[in-house]
């Protein structure tokens, strides 16, 4: 099961996809800011947020002051994953190991502690063939089981919500 997805496109655009919803608390904006901040405070105009759709990765109900902490955690993990893929593409260009790369302010990609060797965001993302995706898989396979009963309370059938369907 996937709880959040962050995509980086060849032209430098970023998409954060998460099946949360904004009830007025500003979740949409929080997701935008977290995505940008985890990518070196990338300009907000480069980041697009998609929420509010069960076709998107599953997220929780907005309740108990939990939306901001949970979407932050989920989006952060997805960004970490997509960053890892980006570093693998950029590493040969910089002659460094992918594990030694980091994102610097403004989205520059460079080796840790070596300011001279870096690529700005647009040059780094140009190395992507179309897009790269960071998923957050959870080890917990969260499956909702619904028991259906008739009016007398007799079990009629069971349905599963594995939270995914082929798009």
């Amino acid at each position: 099961m996937i709880v959040a997805q962050v995509k980086i496109y060849k032209d430098g655009r970023v998409e954060a996809l998460i099946g949360s919803q904004d009830i007025g608390g500003g979740a949409r904006t929080v997701i935008l800011l977290v995505t940008s901040s985890k990518l070196g405070y990338l300009p907000l105009e480069k980041v697009r947020v998609k929420i509010g759709d069960t076709d998107l990765p599953r997220s929780g109900t907005s309740a108990g002051s939990s939306t901001t902490p949970s979407v932050t955690r989920e989006i952060t993990a997805a960004v970490e994953e997509v960053k890892r893929r980006l570093f693998e593409l950029v590493a040969p260009e910089l002659g460094a190991g992918a594990a030694d790369l980091e994102i610097r302010p403004g989205g520059k990609v460079g080796g840790r502690g070596d300011a001279a060797k870096e690529l700005d965001w647009d040059r780094a993302t140009r190395l992507i063939s179309e897009s790269i995706i960071g998923h957050v898989p959870t080890e917990l396979k969260e499956v909702a089981i619904y028991y259906h009963a008739d009016k007398r309370g007799k079990l009629t059938h069971v349905t599963l919500d594995d939270c995914e369907r082929s798009a």
């Binding site: 904004d22 007025g24 990338l42 002051s65 349905t159 919500d161």
Partner: protein
């Protein structure tokens, strides 16, 4: 706001309501002549068939045909697809439908579209000039003067008219200018700031979307950014569930019981209901409904036609005795002696009251059926829909782009949403089914609790009084109210200043208390409660609240007229800790939560008819929520840190009632332990002092 100058037809919607209310909606449909029209010499009788009408809206003329009873709001939303103006109360109490007629703000729900013919109508969609926002719209975006945004089009229209007429408006004039509008998320503080920014002529040229790196980080820490969907919301372009308009849409409306238990008397006139033009489906759902339950449903191509069909059913509900005598439960437990054991508390039931009620636009399709639901959890909503319809969740897709508030009542999927999907499947067209305002208010709410002095809690148990879903910070505001008054009561018994008493008991927050005390001017409190001269007394009080990762110390300053029992909150100081991502969003949650807490303890109460368990105030005239003129100055002292993401939506509501209740005690010497702090309860406490 009124209906503007007399228009040529001279027949107001009130005349129609009178006729429909007295005789049932069938009157108009069967061709009877409305009494009000007959009475006016020279008046023309229009209808019952559709009549031509040309409306000039946002500079363009539209030749339309509709029934004479069509409201201006209905014509704009459903004949012209201008869904910026919202239908909330449908009786002129909330201002969400505000548009301009000849430049003057009017409640479009209270006006017949025919009466707007010949006039110049401006809706929120016509306020911007292309991409250039009206200064009020721009200031609303920049000052974050909105949350869910459902009230925003109405507020912007009222405010833009106010500031056009009074470019140098004072804060009081700004409040008066939007006094007919309600914002349930309570973004009032930011709405006033936006208006004052327009008065000052502030320009907003920081294009934050292009900032990056350290410059962006610093901007977020110091100021924060406007919310992402603010531009769409101030332009009336944001589409909520209620605004979904797929082709061939039918509007489903219901008649709901307001009694705990009731039964339908006689046979509803289905034949008359089905004759109403435009009606596609009528059914009696439940002859023995509980409170808030739908009794009958009508679906039509026009929402007012559906309402007319429901009226034509002429359903008579006979209520049955069902309620529990809450007052008796309370009295029976009131045995403690306050002088020895402390205070006894009563917390009334208050409502969530989101401006957009529950609602579902269902569109049955193969292989995947689509629905939009106004919900706090789309995945949960899909699961519930699948369960109700006994289908695989993968054959359903749930969408929600914008939600017009929830506050807990939309955590659980709407129990009646599957009805919309079944109808869509049966009728072969998309169906939009929105809960009516009476039902929003009758179904929902929480907080009801009495706590007696010896520590026993008495749940008043509103069995038969409707559902009680979780309400913003469930359980906490009432517990904190009791704890906060208890602390001040103990301090008074010990002869200690409540501030010192708290700092000693809660040393971890000593600095917070000091910061707040300095900001409110704690030295101005009455050293001896109630000792100030004259009938209008001022007092200061403290409260503390915590929920999940957020916590805050509140200080309140109140003014109490002890002769008439009226309390006015003059100022609140909120010292708040908890991590945040967007400074503006965090402050808006804190001020909004504080105002919601204020609204609950000061004004709100679900009034029940004890005999039949009927809700007596299921509307926004008599279920009073805080409006612009009720809002005090709120000073927020933010102690949390940027980037440390916490949830702060609920904690700010928790400390308010305690701070205000203690301030009332400081002003008067009376412990008002029964909420809300309305004259009835304040005067009773003053008498018992």
């Amino acid at each position: 706001m009124g209906g503007g100058k007399d228009r040529k037809r001279g027949l107001s919607r009130r005349d129609f309501i009178k006729v429909v209310g007295a005789g049932g909606g069938g009157l108009l449909a069967s061709g009877a002549v409305p009494v009000a029209a007959q009475d006016k010499p020279g008046a023309r009788v229009l209808g019952p068939d559709k009549v031509p009408c040309t409306l000039k809206v946002n500079g363009r003329e539209h030749a339309l045909h509709f029934e004479p009873r069509t409201t201006l709001l209905n014509a704009l939303r459903n004949k012209l697809d201008l869904t910026g103006p919202k239908e909330v109360c449908d009786r002129g109490a909330c201002g969400a439908c505000t548009v301009w007629l000849d430049g003057r703000p009017v409640n479009s729900c209270m006006m017949l579209a025919l009466d707007a013919e010949g006039g110049d109508i401006t809706t929120i969609e016509g306020l911007a000039r292309g991409d250039k926002l009206n200064p009020v719209q721009a200031a609303f975006v920049e000052k974050d003067a909105l949350q869910c945004g459902y009230c925003t089009p109405g507020f912007v229209m009222s405010m833009a008219a106010c500031l056009r007429d009074r470019p140098k408006a004072t804060l009081d004039e700004v409040k008066q200018g939007c006094a007919g509008n309600l914002c349930r998320c309570s973004a009032y503080t930011q709405i006033f700031e936006a208006a004052q920014a327009v008065v000052r002529g502030d320009t907003f040229d920081t294009n934050v979307s292009k900032l990056s790196g350290d410059a962006l980080r610093e901007h977020l820490e110091k100021e924060g950014v406007p919310r992402l969907d603010a531009p769409a919301k101030v332009k009336g372009e944001a589409r909520y569930t209620s605004d979904q308009k797929p082709p061939r849409l039918l509007h489903a409306r219901t008649l709901n019981s307001m009694f705990a238990k009731a039964s339908v008397e006689g046979e509803p006139d289905l034949e008359a209901a089905r004759k109403v033009p435009g009606v596609q489906h009528v059914e009696v759902i439940n002859r023995n409904p509980g409170i808030g339950a739908p009794v009958a449903l009508a679906a039509a191509d026009d929402p007012q036609a559906a309402d007319e069909a429901l009226a034509a059913l002429k359903i008579r509900l006979r209520p049955e005795p069902a309620g529990r005598d809450v007052d008796k439960i309370f009295r029976d437990n009131l045995k403690a002696d306050p002088a020895k054991e402390g205070l006894t508390y009563f917390i009334q039931t208050v409502q969530h009251c989101p401006l957009e009620g529950h609602g579902c636009m269902a569109h049955w399709q193969e292989p995947v059926a689509l629905f939009q639901e106004s919900t706090q959890g789309i995945h949960a909503a899909r699961g519930a829909m699948a369960q109700a319809l006994r289908m695989e969740p993968g054959k359903l897709r749930a969408v929600v782009e914008h939600v017009g508030g929830g506050f807990g009542c939309k955590i659980s999927p709407w129990s009646d949403a599957p009805r919309a999907m079944r109808l869509s499947k049966d009728l072969g067209v998309p169906v939009l089914y929105m809960e009516n305002r009476e039902t929003v208010l009758a179904n929902g709410g929480g907080r009801n609790l009495a706590i007696v002095a010896d520590g026993r809690q008495v749940r008043l148990g509103l069995q038969g009084y409707g559902t009680m879903p979780a309400l913003r910070a469930p359980g906490t505001p009432q517990a904190r109210f009791v704890a906060d008054l208890r602390l001040d009561w103990e301090a008074e018994q010990a002869g200690v200043d409540p501030l010192d008493y708290r700092k000693e008991k809660d040393a971890a927050h000593a600095e917070w208390y000091d910061q707040g005390a300095k900001a409110i001017g704690w030295e101005r409190r009455q050293k001896k409660p109630g000792s100030a001269a004259g009938p209008v007394k001022r007092g200061l009080g403290i409260g503390y609240g915590k929920f999940q990762s957020g916590e805050g110390v509140d200080f309140a300053e109140v003014e109490v007229d002890v002769e008439i029992g009226v309390v006015r909150v003059k100022k609140m100081v909120v010292v708040f800790g908890g991590g945040w991502i967007n400074r503006r969003g965090a402050i808006s949650q804190i001020t909004g939560g504080t105002i919601m807490g204020l609204s609950w303890c000061m004004f709100e109460e679900r009034m029940m008819d004890r005999a039949v368990g009927g809700m007596m105030n299921p509307n926004l005239e008599f279920y009073k929520v805080a409006g612009p003129v009720d809002i005090p100055e709120i000073q927020v002292i933010l102690r949390g840190s940027h980037g440390n993401a916490g949830g702060i939506g609920e904690a700010p509501v928790c400390a308010v009632a305690g701070a205000i209740g203690n301030a009332i005690h400081n002003a008067t010497g009376a412990w008002v332990t029964r909420q809300p702090f309305v004259p009835r309860n304040v005067l009773a406490a003053l008498k018992a002092r």
